[in-house]
Symmetry: C2
């Protein structure tokens, strides 16, 4: 059965560019490399989190840092297992872990690595950050220098 | 040369779903139908646009309506020519014109037509509507029941 893509157009040139880009890039086949990027916060981000005016002790910072490393390793492991499960996919996988504000690091990576598309989950990076900073996906959709595919987890699957 | 897709992941399940979806759907080949949807506003949308408290006369409404039809035909013609130029693309094209609020019509169409992806320009539908209602692409990115690919026109091309 044919898979259907909906392309919404209006009278602006941008939507016609979207159609053209879709026909050229989404539909065409060819060798693809998927680069999985996980962004860890800067160490210095932890310091002001206390909120009491006192800085965290070195011990606590180290503990948070260690937890962060473990989370990063766990995410990378999961990403690799998702890739390994799709044995019939003709695609290379690269894994990258970087540090910084996720929004800036992701948009910079798109440019530096010369990616033609960015794929990102609709939510993520925590409810706290989302409330105050806006979601990472919203930011990237507006600022990344390439088309951005926002993927929501279907409602019938648990989050 | 291999084309690169960047997949940004975090510790949430949604980003792993995004990676999985990308590997399954963006990378794989197979027959695809691209459905181009142009949404015209309801006739009744014109009435409150005057802003003076007076409604438009029937004549003016008819004139606006005629202009709307011409714009729709022009957009459809452009979309078809973009498709025709890509002679080597193995994809079927369907054109649809519907009426209503673009945000609702697009999200409904995704469901009704069973589309696996929505492609939309980043801007569009006019600066006025965007300011007061938020952009159509932002709304669809959050509310469409499928992954949404937001395509911006590159900065080095004129809008």
């Amino acid at each position: 059965m044919s898979r259907k893509i909906l392309v919404a157009v209006d009278e602006g040139e941008e939507s016609i560019h979207a159609l053209s880009w879709c026909l050229k890039n989404v539909v065409s086949s060819g060798k693809i490399t998927v680069i999985v990027l996980y962004v860890m916060p800067h160490r210095t981000v932890y310091a002001p989190m206390d909120g009491t005016g006192y800085l965290f002790s070195d011990e606590i910072v180290e503990s948070i840092e260690k937890h962060g490393q473990e989370v990063a390793e766990s995410v990378v492991k999961t990403a690799k297992s998702v890739y390994d499960e799709m044995k019939n996919v003709d695609v290379d996988l690269e894994i990258k872990i970087e540090r910084g504000d996720a929004r800036d690091v992701i948009c910079d990576a798109v440019e530096k690595l010369g990616c033609y598309m960015l794929v990102i989950g609709s939510h993520g990076y925590g409810a706290f950050k989302r409330t105050f900073l806006g979601s990472v996906s919203d930011y990237c959709a507006h600022n990344a220098n390439c088309p951005v595919l926002i993927v929501k987890k279907p409602k019938d699957q648990s989050l």
